[in-house]
Every structure is written in C-alpha cells, then in structure tokens.
C-alpha cells in the first residue's frame, strides 16, 4: 500500500467544511427548493385506526380555490410495490385499496397553487368509515405475535443449570415507550417530472434507495431518476425508508404535470416516518457471590405495524455483551394498528441496553460490588457467539479511563448517601457494546491539473460530519492539503452509497474513498510507468508515498513529482478512479468485526420533596476505532447523549388507547431535551484503529445514545434507592 506521510489532515478538530453554508442560511434543505410553476400538496389522514373507507367525498375540496387535484385510493393508478432493500420490504405502496391500518394513515393528497389553499382544501375532504376495533396494546390476546422475527434468537449453554448455580438472581420487567425520531427538519419532498425523467429533492438518508423505490413503484428506469439531498435536517433513522408521502408527492406531480412540494407537518412527523417502538422486556441475571455471571435470560416484546416490518432485536445485546456461559435471548413482535415503527438512533440497542445495564446495576447492588468491577469481572475478550477475538475492543479502557475522568472513586455506594444541600446526588454508569454494521459502498476520486481533487459518493451528511471527515480522509489518502479537496455527496447520480444508518456509513464510505484514492495513485503510476522523464518510472504502488500534492518514492522525497507535473507533461486535464468497499468477513480474518464500545458515567441530582431530576454531569468514554475528526466525533457523542437524556427523562409518544390517535404529536406536548436540560459533557476517545478494514474506523453515530438511559436510571437508584424500570423517568416515579 502507498505510504501516507502527512497524517495531519485527519484527527483533531477541523471545523466542518459545510459550516459557512449552515451558519449563513445558504445550505439548501429539501424544502428550500422550488421550481417555476411549483404547486403545493397537503395530506388527509384517517381519523380511525382500523376499518375501511366506505365513501370519500372530495367535491368541496376539488372546487376550493386554487385546487388542482385531489387523489384518493379511488382515483390513484395501480402502483407497484417497492423493492426489498437492506432494511427489508418497502413500506406498503399507498392508495392501493380502501383499508385503514392505523390512525393518521394518508388517505388523500390535495394539490393546490399555494400551501394555504392545499391545507384548507384538505380540511374539506369528508370520509365515511366502516370502523373495526383497532388492536393497540402489545398484550392484546387477539393480536398476531411474530416469534423470532429476524432469526436472531440465541440460546447457549444451559440457563436452568446456570440459575441453579447462582447465589444471587436479579431481574424483572422493564418497559420503554414509543419514541418519535423528530428530526428538526420537517421531512419534505419536491418532485418534478420531465417526460419520463424525474428529479426529486427528499429528506432522505439514502438517495439510492429513493431512486430504486420510485423506479419500481412507477415502473420507470432508474437512469431517468435523480434524487438530491445535499443537506438533510437530521434524520435519526426517519429518513432511511421511502415512506408513502414520498410516493404520493411524486404521483401528484405526475398527475398535475407540474412540480409539487410536500412539507410534512410536525404532527405528521409522528405518524408518517417511523418511530422507536415500545418494548416490554423480561430479564433475569444470575451470578455467584463473587460476581461471576452464571445465566442471563432476556425476552423482548415490541410492537410493529400490521403490514410492515421493522428490525428491532431488543434482546440481542444480552447475547453479545458479557462473558456468561448460559444465555438465552428471545424477541417477539406484536402486530398492531399503529403507524409503522422504524429505526430510531440506536434501534433495539437503545431499549435492550436499558434493561441489561439496569439489571447489572441491581446485581452489583445485591452483591455489594462496584458496578464497574462487576463489568470488568465479566468482560468478554471474544465475541460470545462467534468465539473469535474482536477486531478491536478497548471497552476496558472505556471503563477505567471514564471512571477516572468522572471521579467514580468518590462514589459512596450506599443509596441516598450523597447530598449537595437539598439535592440527593447519584452516580450511575452503564456499558455499551454496539453491533458492527457495514454494507458495500462506492466512491470516485478525480485529480485535476491544478492540483485539486474532487471526491464523491451518493451518501448523505445528516449532521454526522460526513462532508468534513471524507474531505480530510481524501486529503490524507492523496497527500493533499484539505483546502485542495472538494468532497461531494447527496446526489443519486454519484457512485452508489448505502444509507447513513446503523453507524455503518463512515467505514463503508471511508473504505470506498480510500480505495478510490489508492486506485487514483495507481492510475498516475500507470501513466508514468514508461515515462523516461519521470522519477516515478516503473514504481509500484507499495513503493511510493504521497504528500504535498506529490507522489515520491518512499524514503526518497527527491525522487518524485507532483500530480500537476504528470498531468501537464502527458497532456491530461485530470485522472479519475473508482473505489469500492465491501464489509469485512468475520471468518475470513479470524476475528469478529467490532462496532463501537462505550462507558457512560452520569451524575444526577434529585430533589426528594419535588421529585425533580436533573442530569448534572456526563462523561462518555468511547472506543470508536480511528477517529477522523475529534471535533465532529465529539459532537456525535454529545448529541447522542442528549438523545439518551431525552429517552431517559422526557420522550414518550402517547397513543390514545381507545382510538389509536397519537395524543401528543407536537413539540409542545412531546418533550425533548432543551438547552437547560443538558449539562456540559466530557467525551474521551480510547483505543485505536480497528483491524477489520484499512481505514480503521468504527461508527460513532449511535453509541453516544445507548447506555445513557440506564446510567441515568442507575444514578437515580444511587441517589434515592428507587429502581425505575420504566422510561421515561418522571416526577411521579420519584415522589
């Protein structure tokens, strides 16, 4: 491999390359785009959760001012299903029959000259329903239960024998509510047809998925569809799938023959783009008096929509986090008349970790053992299911360095023993073993005669820092200053990229970018291989280094020349190369590919008279492999922690048990963490490059969130002696 001499491009704190666009309001999000002749759409929703549409009267809407079309299941053309994707089957194609499967289901789309006219006309649509009794409760005996939905249930050793051998057994029922992703950007679609070709601006985390889905649904070639998402107003999973409103906007644009914009309302964001489903979890942990785990059972029960899928293996974390000989994990899903759940930052892990890490805290308390010591005692050096060493694992350093930074040794283990004036003080911690995820990705790199580089891939930067870290990585790989590199993304005409999700994009894209850059250097060496004027004549890729815009023979900086000189002498304007990455195979390398690891240390304050809970401090120690930019990676962890504080203390989507209507679908009613709720935080990165891929990264988008809820709950127990097994932790639970 080509030697990289100037590693300064990667590492500490480059400001985001897109910062000037974002602080000046010039970054254009999907709903900032318009076209001449643009018209506007509004949606009509079901006000029942189950049944059929007996009749739908659109006459008043159709004659309202400015209205250009009202489309319902009666007037919509037959559309095809979306394709199978990495995330499973596509959501059901809308408007194909009269059935109602959940409250808030889109049942009509109105197109008018202005948004005001469209909204008003939508309010005029009258619907006659044949109602059925909705299934809304995971415990409803009439509901269909799907056993082992992903084939990931696990059973090792003999759990009965393990519990029989235990001196102490802890556990119980843990519950987590529905949470709603609620990215601040209202998810929006602007669709413009030109004959059979289509341009779509969409709040997506995966432009190629939008392109493939629209091609399948509308039976047009993918080559005629361009999906653009240069900036997306967050996602947290809500933009992973091609939801029905995207298809409806494209359909409306075709129907009226004009570009159409649809901006979801905040209430629609609760019913249209997925959510973290509720969970009911039974967990039991057995251990010897010395603190060795002898058995774990963890059963997860989650809700899912009637006719859609969601990947949410809640109990899996208990199978892969600790060295325990006897472990059984099981998941079930219950089909209900609810909007379809979908991934929300840290899917499954966010719920499962709360139960596992809370139960371990109970165990530590029962044993009179320090919670950090208990985790170290049961540390797994190998992947418990694969029996292979991890490609990297610095979780031990997370525990130790995090505890040191936090001042964990000052913790008096007796609950209620630490005070600050009227406030009870609690210290709590939790560990995280985040799963590895990586899928194939492509990128293209070009070097121009002026010595600048363009690198691109159809990925998205949903706030993750992708623009910035890929600029840095490209600069490093090509030996250029970052100011000479332009990295671009968010356009389905660029090389294929997978979703910004599963904490998997940085490694997938980084390795594709790395491959493209290495191939590009090879192209340059190929150009000069017989060039008598080149000091690089005949050099092989593993004999050269790059730095300062030049390729030179390794160890001999004088024996080289600049990219510009090579291109100029050979009359070339530029050279380009493609690169691709594929996921590392666990068995191939004799190791288990590792995701990120982390340890969270939280200090809470509880007012015992008023039940007030405040998070006072958080220290996160993270093994994220190689960190490409400490500034943006720290922001990922801090942001994840804020999401975790929301999960722990505030967030709960409330569904009316009678009607299935979401009763708090606004930012006034669905509470998220605000500035005053969030303390300053410390983030430390430990470990080093992961061995599984050349770039050595591990994704850090989700490990920041997972573990926070358990750490807060454990700190609450330490402060008050109360074990809270139900999220969010609210005042009524602390009085």
């Amino acid at each position: 491999m080509t030697t990289l001499e100037a590693a300064r491009a990667v590492g500490p704190g480059l400001d985001r390359v897109d910062a000037p666009m974002k602080v000046t309001g010039k970054a254009h999000y999907p709903n900032d785009f318009g076209y001449p002749g643009l018209v506007h759409a509004a949606l009509v929703h079901s006000t029942v959760a189950a049944g059929r549409i007996r009749g739908i009267d659109t006459s008043a809407a159709e004659t309202a001012p400015g209205v250009q079309a009202v489309i319902t299941h009666l007037t919509a053309p037959r559309l095809e299903p979306g394709p199978m994707t990495l995330l499973g089957a596509s959501p059901p194609t809308p408007f194909q029959d009269d059935r109602i499967l959940h409250h808030g289901q889109h049942i009509a789309i109105v197109v008018a000259s202005s948004p005001e006219q469209a909204r008003h006309a939508a309010s005029l649509v009258r619907v006659d329903y044949e109602r059925s009794e909705p299934l809304l409760d995971v415990h409803d005996p009439r509901a269909t239960v799907v056993e082992n939905p992903w084939g990931l249930d696990s059973d090792r050793g003999d759990v009965d024998a393990g519990f029989a051998a235990a001196d102490v057994v802890v556990g119980g029922t843990f519950t987590t509510p529905d949470n709603t992703n609620n990215p601040l950007g209202l998810m929006s679609t602007v669709a413009s047809w030109n004959g059979d070709s289509l341009t779509v601006h969409d709040s997506t985390q995966w432009p190629h998925n939008v392109r493939a889905t629209l091609a399948a649904v509308f039976k047009v070639p993918e080559s005629g569809i361009r999906v653009l998402a240069p900036y997306v107003g967050g996602g947290f999973g809500a933009g992973l799938r091609v939801w029905p409103h995207v298809i409806l906007t494209v359909l409306a644009a075709r129907q009226v023959g004009k570009p159409v914009k649809l901006v979801l309302t905040r209430p629609e964001m609760f019913t249209s783009v997925g959510h973290r489903p509720d969970s009911v979890q039974q967990i039991r942990i057995g251990a010897t008096r010395a603190g060795d785990l002898t058995a774990i059972t963890h059963e997860g029960l989650s809700s899912v929509a009637m006719e859609d899928d969601d990947y949410e293996p809640v109990s899996l974390c208990s199978a892969v986090s600790y060295a325990c000989p006897n472990v059984r994990t099981q998941d079930r899903q219950v089909r209900l008349n609810i909007p379809c759940p979908g991934s929300m930052r840290g899917p499954a892990e966010g719920q499962g970790n709360f139960a596992l890490e809370s139960a371990l805290d109970e165990l530590a308390h029962e044993l009179g053992m320090d919670p950090v010591e208990l985790r170290l005692r049961n540390y797994c050096e190998e992947h418990p299911l694969l029996g292979l060493p991890w490609s990297s694992k610095a979780l031990r350093d997370c525990y130790l360095q995090g505890a040191e930074r936090f001042g964990w040794s000052r913790r008096d283990p007796r609950p209620g023993s630490m005070r600050d004036g009227r406030w009870l003080v609690g210290y709590g911690m939790a560990g995280v073993s985040y799963p590895h995820y990586q899928v194939p990705c492509q990128a293209r790199a070009s070097l121009h005669r002026d010595g600048s580089a363009d690198v691109r891939s159809a990925a998205t930067d949903i706030g993750t820092g992708t623009y910035t870290i890929m600029t840095q990585l490209s600069a490093e790989q090509l030996g250029l200053d970052v100011s000479r590199v332009h990295f671009d993304l968010g356009d389905s005409d660029m090389p294929y990229a997978p979703q910004a999700g599963g904490s998997g994009l940085t490694s997938a894209l980084g390795n594709a970018v790395g491959a493209a850059c290495r191939n590009l250097i090879r192209e340059f060496l190929d150009v000069v291989k017989d060039d008598a004027d080149s000091p690089l004549r005949g050099a092989a890729p593993d004999e050269v280094s790059v730095s300062g815009g030049r390729i030179h023979r390794t160890g001999a900086p004088d024996q080289g020349e600049s990219y510009t000189d090579i291109l100029t002498r050979h009359g070339l304007e530029e050279l380009s190369a493609d690169g691709r990455s594929t996921p590392p195979q666990p068995d191939g390398g004799g190791m288990a590919t590792a995701g990120a690891f982390g340890a969270k240390f939280v200090e809470v304050r509880v007012d015992p008279d008023l039940g007030l809970l405040r998070v006072a401090r958080v220290v996160s120690a993270i093994d994220g492999g190689r960190i490409l930019n400490e500034k943006t990676a720290t922001s990922q962890i801090v942001g994840g922690t804020v999401g975790g504080i929301g999960q722990a203390m505030f967030e709960e989507t409330a569904t009316d048990p009678g009607t299935g209507r979401i009763a708090n679908a606004t930012f006034g009613d669905y509470l998220v963490a605000v500035n005053a709720d969030v303390p300053d935080m410390e983030v430390i990165f430990v470990g080093g490059p992961d061995r599984a891929t050349p770039i050595g990264t591990k994704g850090v988008g989700e490990v920041g969130l997972v573990g926070v809820a358990a750490a807060v709950a454990n700190a609450v127990h330490h402060a008050t002696g109360r074990r809270i097994r139900s999220l969010p932790i609210t005042i009524d639970q602390l009085l």
Binding site: V23, G25, F33, G66, G234, I462, S635, G639, N675
Partner: protein, 179 residues
Amino acid sequence: MPRNRGAMTQVDAAGATSTGAAPEVPQVEVTLTVNDTEHHLRLDSRVTLLDALRDHLGLTGAKKGCDQGACGACTVMADGKRVVACLALAAQYEGRRITTIEGLAPNGELHPMQAAFARHDAFQCGYCTPGQIMSAVSLVAEGRAGSEEDIREFMSGNLCRCGAYPNIRAAIRDALAEG
C-alpha cells in the same frame, strides 16, 4: 466548501411559487422591509411571516421546524426583537423592519456569532442553526446572556434535535468575550 448544485432553481425572489390565488381568497397588500430592502407583496391573508420570507421572497434561511411556535427554527428579528415567524401573519408586520440570517452580516462575511458557531461546532445537521444564531444575537443584544444559567434558560426556546446545546453555549460565551 460544499456547493449547492443541480438544475433546480431556488424559489426566486419574484415569488415564482405564488401563482395568483383565485379571487375569492382574501388578498392583502403588505410592505415589509427585510434586511434593509423594502418589498411590496400581495399575499393570501393567511400567509405567515415565515412563508412570506421563504416562499415569496426566496429567503429560505429561516426554517420551518414545527409551524406551531414551539421549536424556534424560524426565529427572525422584527425591529430588533426576536419573533417566531411561523406564528406571525405577514400582514401583521406591515412596515416593520425584519432581519433574517441572510441579513446578519454583509455577503461573504460572518457575524461574530456565526463565526463562533462554526468554530465551536455548535450544530450538526444545521437546520435549527439560523434560528439559534438569531436568538443568540438577540440574547446578547438584550443583555440576557450575562450568566451561564441565563444562556441555558433563554436559549431553551430553540430546539436542537442533534443535541449541540453545550457547543451552542460555548459559541455564545465566546462571541460575548469577543465583544
């Protein structure tokens, strides 16, 4: 820096998206002074200040995050005071001086608060950022950024779902220190 790209046009300042509503929709004449430029608009009376800026004047910096006055993404200044533009009808702002993120600093330059936000990584997706910056600038101008507690409290009307709050506070402290 990433470029905006593609064949699309942004909503143009001539109001390309307002296609002349049918006569039965009440229209209002509104004069708004936005970033020191006077605009005469004929609008559907239901148009909010936010939609007037975004859809009719092509100033898309102010963002729509809830349309219910609960998230602060649409924060602009009217005569130097913060307003959530989604809860204001454009017609109510006849003759008022509106400042948006686009008017905070001359083109090509950054206001000290904008520079501080960039330096401190006080955003991630960037969607709430124009509103956060407008609130932060107002906070300082109003003399309400005197303590850490004040900053935390008075910035709590601007939601950031990416969770950049600690960095937002650091940026405001830094901009304050710069004077």
